[in-house]
């Protein structure tokens, strides 16, 4: 298995004095499905955004696909970013554009000059976008405005946009936090199946412990900017959970096996 991503002693101080990451080190291999769990403010979002330099780090090294992230600038940075797909809690679509246009945004990193600016995509790209929407069960919404979709549908467009980039790594920032339980299951299933099929490594920030345990091949636990757990879901004992969330297990809303039985067929 090839190494895709490597964090070495990464730290981040924000200008307002917040010490978001302290000496974080971990690695992600090709095809892994890694969940990052931890309470709000533990640095989960900072980790994801430092990988594609949406947030610059203060100290340490991040190596992505053999390149040092902090050294990339301008054109090189754009090239690096297009290798990394990103999915957001609030979907972050351009709501006044059509679904197809939003999916094709995934190709912008590959386009230069006026073609990219005015969105003159190649027929090949358009075909691929439509195929992807087919795969996600969204083909009938190609020409709907993104604002007309439901939450689960918007997130599927977000997934399609990220996959359009042909990424090696997918970053998901609380992808199901704004969704109802049944849409959430669809989205998690899609993320797992699509990344597995394409051998894309996937890092997901999650608040739902049960989801993390069910889907991940590995879990990273963060607490106050430090990695306190890094291992397979089976090893996530009550002790560890208490250390991550800094409170006893009874005080946590963890969710039960009940979620698994939900039917995903009628989801929105």
């Amino acid at each position: 298995m090839d190494k895709i991503l490597k964090f070495e002693n990464v730290s981040k101080h924000y200008p307002n004095g917040v010490h978001a990451l302290k000496n974080v080190s971990f690695e992600v291999n090709e095809g892994e499905f890694v969940s990052i769990i931890g309470p709000s403010g533990s640095g989960k979002s900072t980790i994801l955004r430092s990988i594609n330099k949406l947030i610059p780090i203060s100290d340490g090294n991040i190596t992505l696909d053999g390149l040092l992230v902090s050294q990339q600038k301008g054109k090189e940075l754009r090239k690096l970013r297009r290798k990394v797909g990103m999915i957001f809690q609030n979907y972050n679509l351009v709501y006044s554009l059509s679904v197809l246009q939003n999916v094709l945004h995934g190709r912008l990193g590959y386009m230069d000059g006026l073609k990219g600016i005015f969105g003159l995509y190649s027929e090949e790209d358009k075909k691929e976008a439509i195929n992807l929407l087919n795969e996600l069960g969204m083909e009938q919404f190609c020409y709907n405005r993104a604002s007309d979709l439901s939450g689960g549908q918007k997130q599927r467009v977000g997934i399609a946009r990220a996959i359009m980039q042909n990424p090696k790594l997918l970053l998901c920032d609380e992808p199901i936090a704004s969704l109802d339980p049944s849409s959430a299951k669809t989205i998690m299933d899609l993320l797992r199946d699509m990344t597995r099929k394409r051998n894309i490594a996937c890092i997901v920030n999650l608040h739902q412990l049960d989801v993390a345990i069910k889907y991940s091949t590995r879990i990273i636990g963060l607490s106050k900017g430090e990695v306190v757990f890094d291992g397979p879901p089976e090893k996530l004992t009550d002790d560890v959970i208490e250390r991550i969330y800094n409170t006893s297990r009874e005080n946590l809303m963890i969710g039960g096996a009940g979620n698994d039985k939900k039917d995903s067929a009628d989801c929105a």
């Binding site: 990394v84 972050n92 679509l93 351009v94 006044s96 554009l97 600016i117 946009r161």
Partner: protein, 266 residues
């Protein structure tokens, strides 16, 4: 007698008392300073009424040969407002991209761009008109520039707020796919902010219709100049019908732009 129960907090009551006292003192001080006396106004009210009823009423039409000229001056005023606002909007769009820390490729300069726009905005269009007339001479061209400057500065501010309100999330996601600055502008900021921009643009047209009448009076041409020349010629009854014409024009434009803005923001 028992103590009465107050209905509002004592501090609040004291605040109101202080506020009213200060307002009263200010009124007395300022009217003393400006020699304003309500009694003089009352004494002169006869002359004022006579002016309104005899000189202004009834509104009279200008000579038939002048009517096409008056109407075309209305068109000039409308055109002045529309064209200056349009050019200002295009310029303001490009400048506003550099005036927002969150999206500008040079975030450190954003503050200065905004400061410059604020400076331009705080000088009223009328003052700009006077400055430009003294240096460049009178004419619609100069009126155009005076309106352009103020509405440009206003729209920069309004556009920056629209951009920061609307497009934060989608700009981030396009950054993440590796899109360059102009790609982000054309593929995310413009489509998501276009309605907001148009709404501000229409509002600016409303403002500029009124402003272009005023700027016209001091030399910018259009219906303002026509009105001013009738007033100077003591033909108040004709001036009155032109004032009515201006009011009608402003109301019609307000209603049209108001309706369009409502449609756009739906």
């Amino acid at each position: 007698m028992t103590k009465r129960i107050p209905l509002i907090a004592r501090e609040q009551k004291r605040m109101y008392t202080i506020f009213i006292a200060v307002a009263l003192v200010l009124f007395i001080a300022t009217s003393f300073y400006t020699n304003f006396n309500i009694m003089t106004l009352a004494q002169n009210s006869d002359a004022f009424w006579a002016f309104i009823t005899k000189d202004f009423f009834p509104p009279a039409l200008p000579k038939a040969s002048r009517i096409p000229g008056v109407l075309s001056s209305v068109v000039v005023t409308l055109a002045l407002a529309m064209s200056s606002t349009t050019i200002a909007a295009v310029l303001a769009f490009f400048v506003s991209l550099f005036a927002s820390e969150k999206i500008s490729p040079f975030p450190k300069l954003a503050k200065y761009v905004r400061g410059f726009a604020t400076f331009l905005r705080n000088i009223p269009a009328l003052v700009w008109a006077f400055i430009l007339f003294s240096s460049l001479g009178i004419g619609t061209g100069v009126g155009f520039v005076a309106l352009l400057i103020t509405s440009f500065a206003f729209m920069v501010r309004a556009f920056v707020e629209t951009i920061e309100d609307v497009s934060q999330d989608c700009v981030e996601s396009l950054q993440a796919v590796g899109a360059g600055f102009w790609q982000r502008v054309w593929q995310a900021i413009l489509p998501s902010c276009l309605n907001g921009f148009l709404s501000w643009f229409l509002y600016c047209i409303e403002v500029n219709i009124r402003a272009s009448t005023i700027v016209g009076m001091v030399g910018g041409g259009g219906v303002g100049l026509t009105l001013f020349s009738y007033i100077k010629g003591f033909q108040y009854d004709i001036a009155f019908s032109i004032i009515l014409l201006i009011a009608a024009m402003v109301i019609v434009v307000d209603r049209i732009t108001g309706k369009l803005r409502k449609e756009i923001l739906k």
